[in-house]
């Protein structure tokens, strides 16, 4: 039954009466809470009306769009239209927790006479984002010995001295003081880290810069004259699921596309019209017929909360509707600097696809 149904176009989906379509596609924003927030993904939910709501791959491909608004090395903002909230959320969760990066895991302290305790210093070192491409390394399983395939070794050797003129040298220990050791650990017996070969050949400038912290000016510790910190730090590959230091994004979030509609005609010179324009500057304008029309809500987010408060009472609530489109997500990804955000998103989608394929094969 239904095997020879023609490919559904947009027309099939809009067979619902207007008010149901509104409930299905939009979240209505009220003053204190939002209404109609649930998604109607179930295929049979409208079967009483004779409308088939099942998911069709062809229709998904027709409706799905990505529009990139802003993209640079650190932040990316894009619109994802036509996806379900479960997909947007899965993407967000994977970006935060399952895209692998490198971070300092083991710290071998040789000498620490500073006022910062060993463990506090080790914790801070772990949180420093490291500019190391994670794909060059394998994740280290717990029992495995550290080697050039799974570990990057850094050294920190700072001593504070008082200069002739009274100023203090090396008063602040910054992330730029971390030195990369391409040949491996300098204490192979204590750290059990033996490199069979060096790592210098992996990092050929300028395409792959040598391992260092992403930001040079992260303050790790403060020293007084005579205090010294000598330690060796080993960085391994991990995911945000294990510890937040391995999360590649400063954060990643999404929100729904806001829309403002005029529910009825409001003359611009009426009291209501004047109040609307005065309360939400920029959002409302006068069109050629002398009626109030709403400008695109995207550019005027600042006044949308004020609009929410106004919509509590009449006459506003019957004149203006503030809605959010349920399948239009405005995604923002802020990378911590390890990888550019578009690479992060590509990896996240890869990981999701891999998970689905993996489960599909493991079903039997």
């Amino acid at each position: 039954m239904g095997k020879d149904k023609p490919t559904k176009g947009k027309n099939e989906r809009s067979k619902l009466p207007k008010h149901l379509e509104l409930q299905r596609d939009f979240v209505t924003c009220g003053d204190k809470l939002n209404y109609n927030t649930q998604t109607f993904t179930s295929a049979n939910v409208f079967s009483a009306m004779g409308v088939d709501n099942s998911w069709d791959p062809a229709q998904f491909k027709e409706n799905f769009r990505i529009i990139i608004n802003k993209m640079d090395n650190e932040v990316m903002e894009f619109d994802m239209i036509g996806a379900d909230p479960a997909i947007a959320n899965a993407l967000r969760r994977i970006l935060i927790a399952e895209v692998p990066t490198m971070a300092i895991e083991h710290v071998f302290v040789i000498n620490n006479t500073s006022i910062i305790q060993d463990e506090v210093l080790a914790h801070r070192l772990g949180l420093v984002p490291l500019l190391i491409p994670p794909h060059l390394f394998e994740a280290k399983v717990a029992e495995e010995a550290p080697s050039e395939k799974n570990t990057v070794v850094f050294k920190l050797d700072v001593t504070a001295k008082r200069n002739r003129d009274g100023s203090i040298e090396n008063e602040k220990v910054l992330s730029s003081d971390l030195e990369w050791l391409p040949g491996g650990s300098e204490l192979p017996e204590e750290t059990t880290c033996r490199f069979a070969a060096g790592q210098a050949h992996l990092f050929t400038e300028p395409s792959t810069p040598a391992p260092r912290a992403v930001h040079d000016n992260i303050l790790l510790a403060k020293l007084r004259p005579g205090q010294t910190i000598v330690l060796e730090a080993h960085a391994t590959k991990g995911t945000g699921k294990e510890h937040a230091k391995w999360s590649p994004v400063a954060t990643a979030w999404y929100r729904l596309q806001p829309e403002v509609h005029m529910l009825r005609e409001v003359p611009a010179d009426s009291e209501l019209g004047q109040e609307l324009v005065a309360a939400c500057p920029g959002l409302f304008a006068t069109d050629e017929r002398g009626l109030i029309r709403s400008n695109c809500a995207r550019g005027h987010e600042m006044v949308l909360e004020k609009l929410r408060r106004l919509l509590e009472q009449e006459p506003f609530s019957s004149a203006v509707a503030y809605r959010k489109k349920k399948d239009h997500f405005i995604f923002t990804i802020e990378s911590s600097g390890v990888l550019p955000p578009q690479d992060l998103l590509t990896q996240a989608l890869d990981i999701l696809g891999e998970k689905a394929r993996n489960l599909a094969t493991k079903l039997t």
Binding site: N44, F78, K355, L363
Partner: protein, 120 residues
């Protein structure tokens, strides 16, 4: 102190099966899938895709206890498919959906980069 190790959440122990299916004893065309080392990321996605299948009568997921990395999906179909088939179709649809999204996204990134280069 009593917290289990974090790697348990995503590392499958030796000898454990990733997915277990148990047919329901009291209902026809119903069954429970039990996934190890999975969480809401996949659970919500599978539930959503199972719902959008016409043959599904009931689909839901839960994580019985937050300290154990087990995710359970319960499926009941109307008889035109078995629950295993419904799950299999859902996973295949998911894989193709993500592949399509990846291609779309790569295309858009290239367009954006090209237009950025032309504008300089």
């Amino acid at each position: 102190m009593n917290q289990p190790d974090r790697y348990v959440q995503f590392v499958l122990p030796e000898g454990e099966r990733k997915v277990n299916y148990k047919a329901d004893t009291k209902l026809k065309d119903a069954g429970t899938f039990s996934f190890r080392s999975e969480d809401h990321t996949m659970g919500n996605l599978l539930r959503m895709l199972l719902h959008s299948d016409k043959a599904t009568v009931f689909a839901g997921y839960r994580i019985p206890h937050p300290l154990e990395p087990v995710m359970v999906v319960k499926v009941q179909t109307n008889g035109t498919k078995t629950p295993e088939e419904a799950m299999s179709h859902a996973l295949q649809d998911l894989a193709s959906e993500f592949e399509y999204m990846l291609n779309e996204f790569d295309r858009e990134v290239m367009n954006a980069q090209q237009s950025a280069m032309h504008n300089i």
